[in-house]
Protein backbone atom coordinates (compact mmCIF):
# COMPACT_ATOMS: atom_id res chain seq x y z
CA UNK A 1 0.00 0.00 0.00
CA UNK A 2 1.39 3.43 -0.96
CA UNK A 3 1.57 6.20 1.63
CA UNK A 4 1.11 9.05 -0.81
CA UNK A 5 -2.15 10.86 -0.03
CA UNK A 6 -1.90 14.57 0.68
CA UNK A 7 -5.16 16.12 1.85
CA UNK A 8 -5.95 19.62 0.67
CA UNK A 9 -8.46 20.27 3.42
CA UNK A 10 -10.50 23.32 4.25
CA UNK A 11 -13.84 24.72 5.25
CA UNK A 12 -15.42 25.84 1.91
CA UNK A 13 -14.26 29.14 0.39
CA UNK A 14 -10.87 29.22 2.09
CA UNK A 15 -8.35 29.03 -0.78
CA UNK A 16 -8.39 25.29 -1.48
CA UNK A 17 -9.17 25.66 -5.20
CA UNK A 18 -6.53 28.37 -5.53
CA UNK A 19 -3.88 26.02 -4.17
CA UNK A 20 -5.09 23.18 -6.44
CA UNK A 21 -4.74 25.43 -9.48
CA UNK A 22 -1.31 26.57 -8.26
CA UNK A 23 -0.06 23.00 -7.72
CA UNK A 24 -1.53 21.88 -11.06
CA UNK A 25 0.40 24.66 -12.80
CA UNK A 26 3.60 24.13 -10.79
CA UNK A 27 3.67 20.38 -11.35
CA UNK A 28 2.50 20.64 -14.97
CA UNK A 29 5.15 19.30 -17.32
CA UNK A 30 4.32 21.77 -20.10
CA UNK A 31 4.48 25.57 -19.89
CA UNK A 32 0.82 26.00 -20.78
CA UNK A 33 -1.73 27.23 -18.23
CA UNK A 34 -3.78 24.29 -17.00
CA UNK A 35 -7.46 23.99 -17.89
CA UNK A 36 -9.50 24.78 -14.75
CA UNK A 37 -12.14 22.34 -15.96
CA UNK A 38 -9.64 19.53 -16.17
CA UNK A 39 -7.52 19.88 -13.04
CA UNK A 40 -5.40 16.80 -12.54
CA UNK A 41 -4.83 17.58 -8.88
CA UNK A 42 -7.23 17.37 -6.00
CA UNK A 43 -10.10 15.05 -6.84
CA UNK A 44 -12.65 15.59 -4.14
CA UNK A 45 -12.99 12.97 -1.38
CA UNK A 46 -16.77 13.14 -1.75
CA UNK A 47 -16.86 12.30 -5.48
CA UNK A 48 -19.46 9.62 -6.18
CA UNK A 49 -17.77 8.99 -9.50
CA UNK A 50 -14.46 8.02 -7.86
CA UNK A 51 -16.17 5.95 -5.18
CA UNK A 52 -18.14 4.06 -7.85
CA UNK A 53 -15.11 3.61 -10.12
CA UNK A 54 -13.04 2.14 -7.34
CA UNK A 55 -15.65 -0.04 -5.66
CA UNK A 56 -17.53 -1.14 -8.79
CA UNK A 57 -20.76 -0.31 -6.98
CA UNK A 58 -23.59 2.07 -7.89
CA UNK A 59 -24.05 4.16 -4.78
CA UNK A 60 -26.91 6.33 -5.98
CA UNK A 61 -29.25 4.18 -3.91
CA UNK A 62 -27.04 3.93 -0.84
CA UNK A 63 -27.79 5.79 2.37
CA UNK A 64 -25.39 8.55 3.44
CA UNK A 65 -23.76 6.36 6.10
CA UNK A 66 -23.40 3.44 3.67
CA UNK A 67 -21.60 5.78 1.24
CA UNK A 68 -19.22 6.93 4.00
CA UNK A 69 -18.26 3.30 4.67
CA UNK A 70 -16.95 3.01 1.08
CA UNK A 71 -14.79 6.13 0.99
CA UNK A 72 -11.74 4.75 2.78
CA UNK A 73 -11.57 1.69 0.50
CA UNK A 74 -12.24 3.69 -2.68
CA UNK A 75 -9.65 6.42 -2.09
CA UNK A 76 -6.97 4.00 -0.87
CA UNK A 77 -7.41 2.20 -4.18
CA UNK A 78 -7.56 5.42 -6.22
CA UNK A 79 -4.36 6.67 -4.57
CA UNK A 80 -2.52 3.62 -5.93
CA UNK A 81 -2.75 5.26 -9.40
CA UNK A 82 -0.46 8.12 -8.35
CA UNK A 83 3.29 8.04 -7.78
CA UNK A 84 4.71 10.55 -5.28
CA UNK A 85 1.57 12.44 -4.35
CA UNK A 86 -2.13 11.67 -4.49
CA UNK A 87 -3.58 15.13 -3.76
CA UNK A 88 -7.20 14.89 -2.63
CA UNK A 89 -9.37 17.87 -1.84
CA UNK A 90 -11.84 17.68 1.03
CA UNK A 91 -14.30 19.88 2.88
CA UNK A 92 -15.24 17.09 5.29
CA UNK A 93 -14.40 17.67 8.93
CA UNK A 94 -11.83 15.13 10.05
CA UNK A 95 -14.19 12.60 11.62
CA UNK A 96 -14.37 8.82 12.02
CA UNK A 97 -17.32 6.70 10.92
CA UNK A 98 -20.14 6.15 13.43
CA UNK A 99 -18.61 2.70 14.04
CA UNK A 100 -15.40 4.38 15.22
CA UNK A 101 -13.41 3.13 12.21
CA UNK A 102 -11.50 5.62 10.06
CA UNK A 103 -13.47 7.25 7.29
CA UNK A 104 -10.23 8.75 5.97
CA UNK A 105 -7.61 6.31 4.65
CA UNK A 106 -5.06 7.12 7.38
CA UNK A 107 -2.67 4.29 6.47
CA UNK A 108 -2.22 5.73 2.95
CA UNK A 109 -1.92 9.34 4.14
CA UNK A 110 1.37 11.19 3.96
CA UNK A 111 0.24 14.61 5.19
CA UNK A 112 -2.40 17.33 5.00
CA UNK A 113 -2.42 21.01 4.14
CA UNK A 114 -5.17 22.84 5.95
CA UNK A 115 -6.34 26.15 4.48
CA UNK A 116 -7.91 28.58 6.91
CA UNK A 117 -9.60 31.90 6.28
CA UNK A 118 -11.20 34.48 8.56
CA UNK A 119 -14.77 33.19 9.09
CA UNK A 120 -16.05 36.76 8.88
CA UNK A 121 -14.99 36.77 5.20
CA UNK A 122 -15.87 33.12 4.68
CA UNK A 123 -19.52 33.74 5.53
CA UNK A 124 -19.87 36.31 2.72
CA UNK A 125 -18.22 34.07 0.15
CA UNK A 126 -20.21 31.10 1.44
CA UNK A 127 -23.47 33.04 0.98
CA UNK A 128 -22.53 33.62 -2.67
CA UNK A 129 -21.59 29.96 -3.07
CA UNK A 130 -24.83 28.67 -1.55
CA UNK A 131 -26.92 31.44 -3.14
CA UNK A 132 -28.41 32.37 0.22
CA UNK A 133 -28.51 35.39 2.53
CA UNK A 134 -25.56 36.18 4.80
CA UNK A 135 -27.76 35.51 7.82
CA UNK A 136 -28.34 31.98 6.53
CA UNK A 137 -24.68 31.33 5.68
CA UNK A 138 -23.73 32.66 9.12
CA UNK A 139 -26.16 30.27 10.79
CA UNK A 140 -24.69 27.42 8.77
CA UNK A 141 -21.13 28.44 9.60
CA UNK A 142 -22.09 28.33 13.30
CA UNK A 143 -24.13 25.10 13.05
CA UNK A 144 -22.28 22.32 14.90
CA UNK A 145 -24.06 19.66 12.81
CA UNK A 146 -23.90 21.28 9.38
CA UNK A 147 -23.45 19.07 6.29
CA UNK A 148 -23.16 19.90 2.59
CA UNK A 149 -24.50 17.90 -0.40
CA UNK A 150 -27.12 16.61 2.01
CA UNK A 151 -30.25 17.25 -0.07
CA UNK A 152 -32.55 14.25 -0.07
CA UNK A 153 -34.62 15.68 -2.92
CA UNK A 154 -32.22 15.03 -5.75
CA UNK A 155 -29.22 13.06 -6.92
CA UNK A 156 -25.95 14.62 -5.86
CA UNK A 157 -22.65 14.15 -7.68
CA UNK A 158 -21.05 14.16 -4.25
CA UNK A 159 -21.80 12.22 -1.10
CA UNK A 160 -22.93 14.09 2.01
CA UNK A 161 -20.08 15.79 3.83
CA UNK A 162 -20.28 16.61 7.54
CA UNK A 163 -18.45 19.92 7.85
CA UNK A 164 -19.79 20.96 11.29
CA UNK A 165 -19.25 24.57 12.41
CA UNK A 166 -16.20 26.55 11.24
CA UNK A 167 -14.54 26.25 14.66
CA UNK A 168 -15.15 22.50 14.97
CA UNK A 169 -13.90 21.99 11.41
CA UNK A 170 -10.64 23.81 12.18
CA UNK A 171 -10.16 21.82 15.41
CA UNK A 172 -10.95 18.50 13.74
CA UNK A 173 -8.03 18.93 11.30
CA UNK A 174 -5.50 20.88 13.32
CA UNK A 175 -5.79 18.92 16.57
CA UNK A 176 -5.61 15.38 15.13
CA UNK A 177 -2.40 13.37 15.49
CA UNK A 178 -2.76 10.79 12.73
CA UNK A 179 -0.47 12.61 10.24
CA UNK A 180 1.38 15.97 9.93
CA UNK A 181 -0.66 19.05 8.99
CA UNK A 182 0.59 22.34 7.57
CA UNK A 183 -1.81 25.21 8.27
CA UNK A 184 -1.90 27.95 5.62
CA UNK A 185 -3.83 31.17 6.18
CA UNK A 186 -5.70 32.51 3.11
CA UNK A 187 -4.79 36.05 4.16
CA UNK A 188 -1.07 35.18 4.10
CA UNK A 189 -1.46 33.63 0.64
CA UNK A 190 -2.96 36.91 -0.57
CA UNK A 191 -0.28 39.00 1.10
CA UNK A 192 2.75 37.01 0.02
CA UNK A 193 1.92 34.10 -2.29
CA UNK A 194 5.61 33.39 -3.03
CA UNK A 195 6.34 32.82 0.66
CA UNK A 196 3.25 30.68 1.35
CA UNK A 197 3.47 28.49 -1.75
CA UNK A 198 7.20 27.99 -1.06
CA UNK A 199 6.21 26.86 2.43
CA UNK A 200 3.85 24.29 0.89
CA UNK A 201 6.53 23.00 -1.50
CA UNK A 202 9.06 22.75 1.33
CA UNK A 203 6.55 20.90 3.54
CA UNK A 204 5.95 18.40 0.74
CA UNK A 205 9.68 18.16 -0.01
CA UNK A 206 9.11 19.30 -3.59
CA UNK A 207 12.12 21.09 -5.09
CA UNK A 208 11.46 24.84 -5.49
CA UNK A 209 12.20 26.35 -8.89
CA UNK A 210 11.70 30.12 -8.65
CA UNK A 211 10.82 30.58 -12.33
CA UNK A 212 8.22 27.84 -12.16
CA UNK A 213 6.93 29.21 -8.86
CA UNK A 214 6.39 32.69 -10.25
CA UNK A 215 4.81 31.39 -13.41
CA UNK A 216 2.46 29.07 -11.45
CA UNK A 217 1.46 31.93 -9.14
CA UNK A 218 0.73 34.13 -12.16
CA UNK A 219 -1.30 31.38 -13.83
CA UNK A 220 -3.34 30.72 -10.71
CA UNK A 221 -4.00 34.34 -9.76
CA UNK A 222 -7.54 35.22 -8.75
CA UNK A 223 -7.99 37.59 -11.71
CA UNK A 224 -6.82 34.92 -14.15
CA UNK A 225 -9.17 32.31 -12.71
CA UNK A 226 -12.04 34.78 -12.75
CA UNK A 227 -11.33 35.47 -16.41
CA UNK A 228 -11.11 31.76 -17.25
CA UNK A 229 -14.40 31.12 -15.47
CA UNK A 230 -16.03 33.87 -17.53
CA UNK A 231 -14.60 32.42 -20.74
CA UNK A 232 -15.06 28.68 -20.31
CA UNK A 233 -17.29 28.27 -17.27
CA UNK A 234 -16.17 26.33 -14.19
CA UNK A 235 -17.63 22.89 -13.74
CA UNK A 236 -17.12 22.94 -9.97
CA UNK A 237 -19.42 25.97 -9.59
CA UNK A 238 -22.75 25.04 -8.00
CA UNK A 239 -25.54 25.81 -10.47
CA UNK A 240 -27.28 28.08 -7.96
CA UNK A 241 -24.26 30.39 -7.62
CA UNK A 242 -23.50 32.95 -10.33
CA UNK A 243 -19.71 33.09 -10.02
CA UNK A 244 -17.37 30.67 -8.24
CA UNK A 245 -14.50 33.17 -8.22
CA UNK A 246 -16.33 36.10 -6.67
CA UNK A 247 -14.30 38.68 -4.65
CA UNK A 248 -11.28 36.85 -3.21
CA UNK A 249 -10.22 39.67 -0.85
CA UNK A 250 -9.55 39.72 2.87
CA UNK A 251 -11.20 41.97 5.46
CA UNK A 252 -14.10 42.99 3.21
CA UNK A 253 -16.52 41.80 5.87
CA UNK A 254 -16.10 45.24 7.49
CA UNK A 255 -18.06 46.80 4.61
CA UNK A 256 -20.69 44.07 4.40
CA UNK A 257 -21.50 42.28 7.67
CA UNK A 258 -23.90 43.74 10.23
CA UNK A 259 -22.80 44.20 13.83
CA UNK A 260 -25.00 41.29 14.90
CA UNK A 261 -23.52 38.95 12.29
CA UNK A 262 -19.98 39.86 13.41
CA UNK A 263 -20.91 39.41 17.09
CA UNK A 264 -22.50 36.02 16.47
CA UNK A 265 -19.48 34.65 14.59
CA UNK A 266 -16.95 35.98 17.09
CA UNK A 267 -18.98 34.68 20.04
CA UNK A 268 -19.42 31.19 18.63
CA UNK A 269 -16.15 30.65 16.75
CA UNK A 270 -13.74 32.51 19.01
CA UNK A 271 -11.46 29.59 20.02
CA UNK A 272 -10.02 28.98 16.57
CA UNK A 273 -10.30 32.66 15.59
CA UNK A 274 -8.00 33.52 18.50
CA UNK A 275 -5.65 30.63 17.86
CA UNK A 276 -5.12 31.55 14.21
CA UNK A 277 -4.84 35.31 14.63
CA UNK A 278 -8.29 36.55 13.60
CA UNK A 279 -9.01 38.13 17.00
Amino acid sequence: MKKNIVWLASYPKSGNTWCRVFLSNYLNKTKETVDINNLQIGSIFSSKHIIEDNTGLDISEYTENECDELRNFAFTKWAENFDDFAFFKTHDAYLPLDSGENMFPVKSTKAAIYFIRNPLDVTISFANHLACTIDKSTNRLCDKNFSIAASKKKFNQQVRQKILSWDLHVKSWTEQNDFPVLVIRYEDMLLNPQKEFKKILKFLKIKTDNNKLNSAIKNSSFDKMKLLEKKTGFKEKPSSCKKFFNVGKSGYYKEILSENQIKKIIKEQKDSMKKFGYL
Partner: protein
Protein backbone atom coordinates in the same frame (compact mmCIF):
# COMPACT_ATOMS: atom_id res chain seq x y z
CA UNK B 1 -26.53 -27.22 0.14
CA UNK B 2 -28.06 -26.59 -3.29
CA UNK B 3 -30.25 -29.71 -2.94
CA UNK B 4 -31.62 -28.51 0.40
CA UNK B 5 -32.39 -25.14 -1.07
CA UNK B 6 -34.16 -26.73 -4.03
CA UNK B 7 -36.26 -28.88 -1.67
CA UNK B 8 -37.24 -25.88 0.47
CA UNK B 9 -37.93 -23.91 -2.66
CA UNK B 10 -40.71 -26.25 -3.77
CA UNK B 11 -42.36 -26.09 -0.35
CA UNK B 12 -42.47 -22.31 -0.27
CA UNK B 13 -44.75 -19.97 -2.14
CA UNK B 14 -43.16 -18.54 -5.23
CA UNK B 15 -44.03 -16.03 -7.91
CA UNK B 16 -43.31 -16.19 -11.65
CA UNK B 17 -42.44 -13.06 -13.59
CA UNK B 18 -41.16 -11.96 -16.98
CA UNK B 19 -38.53 -9.21 -17.25
CA UNK B 20 -35.51 -8.55 -19.48
CA UNK B 21 -36.51 -11.48 -21.73
CA UNK B 22 -36.19 -13.84 -18.75
CA UNK B 23 -38.83 -15.86 -16.92
CA UNK B 24 -38.04 -15.56 -13.24
CA UNK B 25 -39.39 -17.76 -10.48
CA UNK B 26 -38.95 -15.99 -7.15
CA UNK B 27 -39.53 -16.78 -3.51
CA UNK B 28 -39.59 -13.05 -2.91
CA UNK B 29 -42.54 -11.10 -4.19
CA UNK B 30 -41.37 -8.49 -6.72
CA UNK B 31 -44.44 -6.37 -7.49
CA UNK B 32 -42.47 -4.25 -9.97
CA UNK B 33 -42.19 -7.19 -12.42
CA UNK B 34 -44.89 -8.42 -14.83
CA UNK B 35 -46.54 -11.72 -13.82
CA UNK B 36 -45.98 -14.64 -16.20
CA UNK B 37 -47.23 -18.19 -16.59
CA UNK B 38 -44.32 -19.45 -18.65
CA UNK B 39 -41.68 -21.93 -17.49
CA UNK B 40 -38.92 -20.15 -15.61
CA UNK B 41 -35.24 -20.04 -16.57
CA UNK B 42 -34.03 -18.09 -13.52
CA UNK B 43 -34.82 -18.74 -9.85
CA UNK B 44 -34.48 -16.42 -6.87
CA UNK B 45 -34.66 -17.90 -3.39
CA UNK B 46 -33.54 -17.49 0.22
CA UNK B 47 -30.83 -19.82 1.47
CA UNK B 48 -27.28 -20.14 2.70
CA UNK B 49 -24.63 -18.64 0.48
CA UNK B 50 -20.94 -19.60 0.29
CA UNK B 51 -18.57 -17.51 2.43
CA UNK B 52 -16.19 -16.99 -0.46
CA UNK B 53 -15.91 -17.99 -4.11
CA UNK B 54 -13.50 -20.83 -4.80
CA UNK B 55 -12.10 -19.23 -7.95
CA UNK B 56 -12.72 -15.49 -7.75
CA UNK B 57 -11.18 -13.58 -10.65
CA UNK B 58 -11.72 -10.12 -9.14
CA UNK B 59 -12.45 -8.83 -5.68
CA UNK B 60 -13.94 -5.49 -4.75
CA UNK B 61 -15.50 -3.90 -1.71
CA UNK B 62 -17.31 -6.86 -0.10
CA UNK B 63 -17.76 -8.69 -3.41
CA UNK B 64 -16.06 -11.41 -5.43
CA UNK B 65 -16.66 -12.29 -9.05
CA UNK B 66 -15.75 -14.96 -11.58
CA UNK B 67 -17.30 -15.51 -14.99
CA UNK B 68 -20.06 -17.77 -13.64
CA UNK B 69 -20.28 -16.82 -9.98
CA UNK B 70 -20.82 -13.64 -8.03
CA UNK B 71 -20.99 -13.01 -4.30
CA UNK B 72 -21.76 -9.66 -2.67
CA UNK B 73 -22.40 -8.71 0.92
CA UNK B 74 -24.43 -5.60 1.61
CA UNK B 75 -23.51 -4.93 5.21
CA UNK B 76 -26.79 -4.54 7.00
CA UNK B 77 -29.34 -6.46 5.01
CA UNK B 78 -28.19 -9.43 2.91
CA UNK B 79 -25.56 -11.40 1.03
CA UNK B 80 -26.38 -12.41 -2.56
CA UNK B 81 -24.92 -15.30 -4.54
CA UNK B 82 -25.54 -15.46 -8.32
CA UNK B 83 -24.44 -18.43 -10.40
CA UNK B 84 -24.54 -19.55 -14.03
CA UNK B 85 -27.05 -16.88 -15.01
CA UNK B 86 -29.85 -18.98 -13.60
CA UNK B 87 -29.82 -18.94 -9.83
CA UNK B 88 -29.87 -16.21 -7.18
CA UNK B 89 -29.58 -17.17 -3.51
CA UNK B 90 -30.13 -14.53 -0.85
CA UNK B 91 -29.06 -14.87 2.76
CA UNK B 92 -30.73 -12.02 4.63
CA UNK B 93 -29.48 -10.48 7.86
CA UNK B 94 -31.75 -10.45 10.88
CA UNK B 95 -34.48 -7.76 10.64
CA UNK B 96 -33.52 -6.89 7.04
CA UNK B 97 -36.12 -4.74 5.30
CA UNK B 98 -37.62 -6.47 2.26
CA UNK B 99 -37.48 -3.24 0.21
CA UNK B 100 -33.72 -3.12 0.76
CA UNK B 101 -33.39 -6.76 -0.30
CA UNK B 102 -35.53 -6.17 -3.38
CA UNK B 103 -33.83 -2.93 -4.44
CA UNK B 104 -30.56 -4.74 -5.12
CA UNK B 105 -32.24 -7.66 -6.90
CA UNK B 106 -33.65 -5.10 -9.33
CA UNK B 107 -30.25 -3.55 -10.06
CA UNK B 108 -26.86 -5.22 -9.46
CA UNK B 109 -28.12 -8.77 -8.96
CA UNK B 110 -30.31 -8.98 -12.06
CA UNK B 111 -27.55 -7.27 -14.08
CA UNK B 112 -25.09 -9.99 -13.06
CA UNK B 113 -27.63 -12.66 -14.09
CA UNK B 114 -27.80 -10.97 -17.51
CA UNK B 115 -24.00 -10.71 -17.83
CA UNK B 116 -23.59 -14.37 -16.88
CA UNK B 117 -26.07 -15.30 -19.63
CA UNK B 118 -23.90 -13.55 -22.21
CA UNK B 119 -26.34 -10.67 -22.75
CA UNK B 120 -25.52 -6.97 -22.86
CA UNK B 121 -27.24 -4.92 -20.14
CA UNK B 122 -26.85 -1.21 -20.86
CA UNK B 123 -27.26 1.53 -18.24
CA UNK B 124 -30.16 3.15 -20.06
CA UNK B 125 -33.85 3.93 -19.93
CA UNK B 126 -35.90 3.34 -23.07
CA UNK B 127 -39.01 4.15 -25.07
CA UNK B 128 -40.65 2.79 -28.25
CA UNK B 129 -40.97 4.46 -31.64
CA UNK B 130 -42.60 2.49 -34.44
CA UNK B 131 -41.77 -0.86 -32.80
CA UNK B 132 -38.16 0.13 -32.37
CA UNK B 133 -36.25 1.00 -29.21
CA UNK B 134 -34.88 4.45 -28.39
CA UNK B 135 -32.48 4.38 -25.45
CA UNK B 136 -31.10 7.05 -23.09
CA UNK B 137 -27.71 6.32 -21.53
CA UNK B 138 -25.78 8.24 -18.93
CA UNK B 139 -24.26 8.15 -15.49
CA UNK B 140 -26.46 7.92 -12.40
CA UNK B 141 -28.46 11.06 -11.74
CA UNK B 142 -28.04 12.49 -15.24
CA UNK B 143 -31.78 12.26 -16.04
CA UNK B 144 -32.28 9.05 -18.06
CA UNK B 145 -35.55 8.13 -16.36
CA UNK B 146 -36.84 11.69 -16.30
CA UNK B 147 -36.43 12.15 -20.05
CA UNK B 148 -38.09 8.80 -20.83
CA UNK B 149 -41.10 9.69 -18.66
CA UNK B 150 -41.25 13.23 -20.09
CA UNK B 151 -41.36 11.83 -23.65
CA UNK B 152 -44.02 9.37 -22.58
CA UNK B 153 -46.18 12.04 -20.96
CA UNK B 154 -45.74 14.68 -23.66
CA UNK B 155 -45.57 12.64 -26.87
CA UNK B 156 -47.11 9.28 -25.81
CA UNK B 157 -44.07 7.14 -26.54
CA UNK B 158 -44.48 3.81 -24.72
CA UNK B 159 -41.95 3.06 -22.03
CA UNK B 160 -39.71 -0.07 -22.09
CA UNK B 161 -37.06 0.24 -19.42
CA UNK B 162 -35.49 2.19 -16.59
CA UNK B 163 -31.86 1.90 -15.57
CA UNK B 164 -31.16 -1.41 -17.37
CA UNK B 165 -31.99 -2.27 -20.99
CA UNK B 166 -30.92 -5.63 -22.39
CA UNK B 167 -29.42 -6.08 -25.83
CA UNK B 168 -29.36 -9.57 -27.32
CA UNK B 169 -29.43 -11.11 -30.78
CA UNK B 170 -31.94 -13.14 -32.74
CA UNK B 171 -31.08 -14.63 -36.13
CA UNK B 172 -27.86 -12.63 -36.20
CA UNK B 173 -29.79 -9.37 -35.74
CA UNK B 174 -29.68 -7.17 -32.61
CA UNK B 175 -32.77 -7.03 -30.41
CA UNK B 176 -33.86 -5.14 -27.30
CA UNK B 177 -35.86 -6.75 -24.50
CA UNK B 178 -38.24 -4.64 -22.43
CA UNK B 179 -37.55 -4.67 -18.69
CA UNK B 180 -40.43 -3.94 -16.30
CA UNK B 181 -43.05 -1.18 -15.84
CA UNK B 182 -41.53 0.84 -13.05
CA UNK B 183 -39.24 3.87 -12.81
CA UNK B 184 -37.16 5.25 -9.94
CA UNK B 185 -37.41 9.02 -9.56
CA UNK B 186 -35.98 11.59 -7.15
CA UNK B 187 -38.30 14.25 -5.75
CA UNK B 188 -36.86 16.95 -8.03
CA UNK B 189 -37.72 14.80 -11.09
CA UNK B 190 -41.26 14.25 -9.80
CA UNK B 191 -41.54 18.04 -9.42
CA UNK B 192 -40.27 18.60 -12.98
CA UNK B 193 -42.71 16.02 -14.36
CA UNK B 194 -45.56 17.34 -12.20
CA UNK B 195 -46.13 13.93 -10.58
CA UNK B 196 -47.30 13.85 -6.97
CA UNK B 197 -45.35 11.61 -4.60
CA UNK B 198 -48.57 10.84 -2.76
CA UNK B 199 -48.76 7.05 -2.27
CA UNK B 200 -45.56 6.38 -4.22
CA UNK B 201 -43.40 3.85 -2.34
CA UNK B 202 -39.78 4.57 -1.51
CA UNK B 203 -37.28 2.29 -3.27
CA UNK B 204 -35.52 1.63 0.05
CA UNK B 205 -36.42 2.28 3.66
CA UNK B 206 -33.91 5.11 4.13
CA UNK B 207 -33.42 6.38 0.58
CA UNK B 208 -35.68 9.18 -0.48
CA UNK B 209 -36.20 8.02 -4.07
CA UNK B 210 -39.63 6.96 -5.29
CA UNK B 211 -40.91 4.08 -7.39
CA UNK B 212 -43.34 5.25 -10.08
CA UNK B 213 -45.48 2.63 -11.78
CA UNK B 214 -45.79 2.87 -15.59
CA UNK B 215 -48.09 -0.13 -16.14
CA UNK B 216 -50.52 1.49 -18.54
CA UNK B 217 -47.80 3.03 -20.70
CA UNK B 218 -45.49 0.03 -20.75
CA UNK B 219 -44.56 -1.93 -23.86
CA UNK B 220 -43.68 -5.53 -23.09
CA UNK B 221 -41.78 -7.51 -25.71
CA UNK B 222 -38.92 -7.50 -28.18
CA UNK B 223 -37.86 -4.52 -30.29
CA UNK B 224 -35.33 -3.68 -32.95
CA UNK B 225 -32.85 -0.89 -32.16
CA UNK B 226 -33.53 2.63 -33.44
CA UNK B 227 -31.29 5.12 -31.63
CA UNK B 228 -29.31 5.72 -28.48
CA UNK B 229 -28.84 9.13 -26.83
CA UNK B 230 -25.95 9.49 -24.38
CA UNK B 231 -26.61 12.26 -21.85
CA UNK B 232 -23.74 14.29 -20.40
CA UNK B 233 -23.41 17.54 -18.44
CA UNK B 234 -22.53 20.70 -20.32
CA UNK B 235 -20.28 23.29 -18.65
CA UNK B 236 -21.95 25.88 -20.88
CA UNK B 237 -25.49 26.92 -20.05
CA UNK B 238 -27.16 25.44 -23.14
CA UNK B 239 -28.64 22.23 -24.52
CA UNK B 240 -26.87 20.63 -27.51
CA UNK B 241 -27.47 17.36 -29.37
CA UNK B 242 -24.68 16.07 -31.61
CA UNK B 243 -24.75 12.97 -33.80
CA UNK B 244 -21.85 10.59 -33.13
CA UNK B 245 -20.55 8.40 -35.92
CA UNK B 246 -17.94 5.72 -36.56
CA UNK B 247 -15.77 4.19 -33.90
CA UNK B 248 -16.58 6.98 -31.42
CA UNK B 249 -20.12 5.53 -31.13
CA UNK B 250 -18.62 2.32 -29.80
CA UNK B 251 -16.29 4.09 -27.39
CA UNK B 252 -19.03 6.27 -25.96
CA UNK B 253 -21.68 3.58 -25.52
CA UNK B 254 -19.20 1.04 -24.14
CA UNK B 255 -18.87 3.29 -21.07
CA UNK B 256 -22.51 2.65 -20.29
CA UNK B 257 -22.46 -1.12 -19.91
CA UNK B 258 -24.25 -1.75 -16.62
CA UNK B 259 -21.82 -2.42 -13.73
CA UNK B 260 -18.86 -2.35 -16.15
CA UNK B 261 -16.46 -1.45 -13.32
CA UNK B 262 -17.59 -4.44 -11.30
CA UNK B 263 -17.33 -7.07 -14.03
CA UNK B 264 -14.15 -5.63 -15.61
CA UNK B 265 -13.33 -7.58 -18.83
CA UNK B 266 -15.00 -10.89 -17.87
CA UNK B 267 -17.58 -10.72 -20.65
CA UNK B 268 -15.73 -8.55 -23.16
CA UNK B 269 -16.11 -10.96 -26.10
CA UNK B 270 -19.88 -11.25 -25.69
CA UNK B 271 -20.22 -7.50 -25.14
CA UNK B 272 -18.06 -6.58 -28.14
CA UNK B 273 -20.15 -8.75 -30.46
CA UNK B 274 -23.52 -7.49 -29.19
CA UNK B 275 -22.50 -3.86 -28.97
CA UNK B 276 -21.17 -3.92 -32.54
CA UNK B 277 -24.38 -5.51 -33.79
CA UNK B 278 -26.48 -3.00 -31.85
CA UNK B 279 -24.55 0.07 -33.04
CA UNK B 280 -24.66 -1.09 -36.65
CA UNK B 281 -28.43 -0.72 -36.41
CA UNK B 282 -28.81 2.26 -34.09
CA UNK B 283 -27.99 5.93 -34.60
CA UNK B 284 -26.09 7.51 -31.77
CA UNK B 285 -26.39 11.05 -30.35
CA UNK B 286 -24.69 12.88 -27.52
CA UNK B 287 -26.88 15.19 -25.46
CA UNK B 288 -25.08 17.97 -23.59
CA UNK B 289 -27.25 19.74 -21.08
CA UNK B 290 -26.50 22.16 -18.21
CA UNK B 291 -26.17 20.57 -14.80
CA UNK B 292 -29.00 21.11 -12.27
CA UNK B 293 -31.08 23.26 -14.63
CA UNK B 294 -34.60 22.25 -15.61
CA UNK B 295 -34.34 21.85 -19.40
CA UNK B 296 -36.81 18.99 -19.65
CA UNK B 297 -39.30 20.73 -21.99
CA UNK B 298 -36.66 22.01 -24.38
CA UNK B 299 -34.82 18.70 -24.34
CA UNK B 300 -37.87 16.50 -24.89
CA UNK B 301 -38.98 18.69 -27.78
CA UNK B 302 -35.50 18.49 -29.40
CA UNK B 303 -35.35 14.71 -28.94
CA UNK B 304 -38.86 14.26 -30.32
CA UNK B 305 -37.87 16.13 -33.49
CA UNK B 306 -34.74 14.00 -33.93
CA UNK B 307 -36.61 10.72 -33.36
CA UNK B 308 -39.15 11.65 -36.02
CA UNK B 309 -36.34 12.53 -38.47
CA UNK B 310 -33.99 9.52 -37.97
Amino acid sequence: MVNNISFCYFLKKHYTYSAFGLIISSEIEIPEFVISKEKSNVTICYGNVPKTLKKAEHEGFRYQISKNEFLIKYSTWATYFVCNGEKVIIQPEKNADERDIRAFILSTVIAIVLHQRGLLPLHTSGIVYKNKGVLFAGNSGIGKSTIAIALNKKYKYKFISDDITVISEQNAAPIIYSSFPSVKLWQDSLDMLKISNNKLPLIRKDVNKFRYNTNTDFYSGILNPYAIFVIENNVQNKVEIIEIKGVEKFNIVRNHIFRAKMIKELYSNEHFKLLTLFLNSAKCYKILRPKDVNTINELSSMINKIIKKV
